[in-house]
Amino acid sequence: MAGIYIYSEEQPVTEQLLTAGKTLANSLNEKINVIDFSEQDSESFIKKGADHVLCLKSDHPWPESYAQIIADILKEKDPTVVLIGGTLRGKTTASIIAAKLQTGLVNNAFAIEGSGSVIETKRIMYSGIAVCTEELCHGSIVTIEPRTFDAAQDSDHQGDTENIDIQPEAKTITVGNVCPIVHQDNDIATAEKLVCVGRGLSDQNDMKLAEELAEKLHAQICCTRSVAEDYHWLTTDKYVGLSGAKVKPNLYISMGVSGQVQHVAGMRDSKVIVAVDTNENAPIFAAADYGIVGDLHEIIPLLTKELG
């Protein structure tokens, strides 16, 4: 048996993985199978390119508890490759499945390509300084972060659905107090424009400069890890980088951000990057399209004014 298997506990992410899956399916001449929990979604997945949807019927609320069941299914199906949505839950689930199946796992692939029977992935290493290209073993698992691909388009594609009744093992776990993270303002991960503040701000009053600029641009405000974790001027969901949010706005303007590799790893997919920093040797300028070497206290108000 063979086939490409796709799973995410988040339906929009599955639709994005279908885009990657369809390209792979073409070059490898394989069928696409989606594993999901809701029968309602299966029609939409089929329209977007799935040949077969396996619908797991159960009401256990903790997505991670399905790892064993998905591993059992995959073991029987012997897939060529498994794509799992690289949410944080997804990466945990993928790791458990990979261990159960004793197979390889590439987390956070930003590219995947097939030719003949060979599949290659790319992911970053050393905090983003380097890119690692790997050739996958048969049956390897790959996680791909949300928004790496656009959702697949609807078509008149045909496929079928199979319902599977399952009973996830309870394990010795209880889950409670589930709180959605309410993003003050909007979610920076999907913002069109971002103003990013770093430790170059002298004190919290300087946040005003960022706010005024953001208001002019209709932008959201984000920050470096230091600003969130050491200064607490913004909440931790607002910091950008390797261990923070990955953003790709059309415009990203930084002020007083040095541009250390861990930060840049989270913003370098932005379309246009502008940096303002006093240190002309700051690494942020290597990551920027446009830069002004100068004091943010002087430059930012001028910029806000010039934007009219």
Partner: protein
């Protein structure tokens, strides 16, 4: 309560250079305990101080990782286990997890096993939950808070669009996010004390793993410097106001102002 905290000895990425042919040059790199793992060690040390936990640490590394032991021990653990093998030079999440799980079984499965959220060098983000799966115990990942009561741990997980409290009875694997604590800078006294703490070297051959379990799964074809393709235009002429004007005019051309 017994805790094993796992850590990895990694090159400091600040010293990694990318050559003109995009080769990664680590010859100048100093090595250190992965920053994310320092958070895991700190959380274990806090459990030792506040809940009288018995903490040991475990690393799989080459002979070079010997240098890490004293640093690790000065951060709190009372004993270090070191699986010393050249295989650590060329490993992956699959092999590392097989080795760590086998080593943990050999020294005795503790109540809690702590990890960072990923390693600073390869950031594979899988060894912790893989070890949990191999030991058939729960994996609590992306944890920002821990609380131990009786024979169970309650963690707060921060998983993108929500937080949740997950309680697991012992034994369990817990992987920490960096925001959970501020790792200590060991005092001179702690460093001196560390030299007297025991280190047990474990040989790979003693772990009874098969060749298949010790063979990496996916084949690394290349590791190359990331190429940044940016305009890198710096406004150098004129007053600040003129520089800003030039910037806004360029942004307008991009349809952004």
């Amino acid at each position: 309560m017994k805790i094993i905290v796992c850590y990895k000895w990694v090159p400091d990425e600040q010293d990694i250079k990318i050559a003109a042919d995009l080769k990664v040059d680590m010859s100048m790199a100093k090595w250190k305990i992965s920053e994310y793992d320092k958070n895991a060690i700190e959380e274990a040390a806090l459990q030792a101080e506040n809940n009288a936990a018995e903490v040991t640490c475990l690393t799989f590394g080459t002979s070079k990782a010997k240098q890490s032991l004293k640093d690790a021990l000065s951060r709190g653990p009372e004993k270090a286990y070191w699986v010393n093998d050249a295989k650590a030079e060329n490993t992956d999440g699959f092999v590392t997890a097989n080795i760590l799980a086998a080593a943990i079984k050999k020294v005795g499965i503790p109540d809690l096993i702590f990890f960072g959220e990923g390693s600073e060098d390869s950031y594979g983000q899988q060894v912790g939950p893989r070890v949990a799966a191999l030991l058939d115990i729960p994996a609590l990942t992306f944890v920002t808070k821990t609380a131990v009561k009786d024979d169970a741990i309650t963690t707060t997980r921060s998983i993108g669009n929500c937080t949740e409290d997950v309680t697991a009875s012992f034994p369990a694997v817990v992987c920490m996010l960096p925001e959970i604590n501020k790792p200590r800078i060991p005092s001179l006294k702690q460093v001196l004390k560390a030299s007297k703490k025991p280190v047990e070297e474990i040989k790979l051959a003693d772990l009874g793993l098969s060749d298949a379990e010790l063979t990496v799964k996916n084949k690394v074809k290349s590791i190359q410097g990331f190429v940044m393709n940016r305009k890198n235009k710096l406004y150098q002429d004129g007053s600040s106001a003129e520089k800003v004007k030039a910037l806004v005019s360029d942004l307008a051309k991009e349809g952004l102002a």
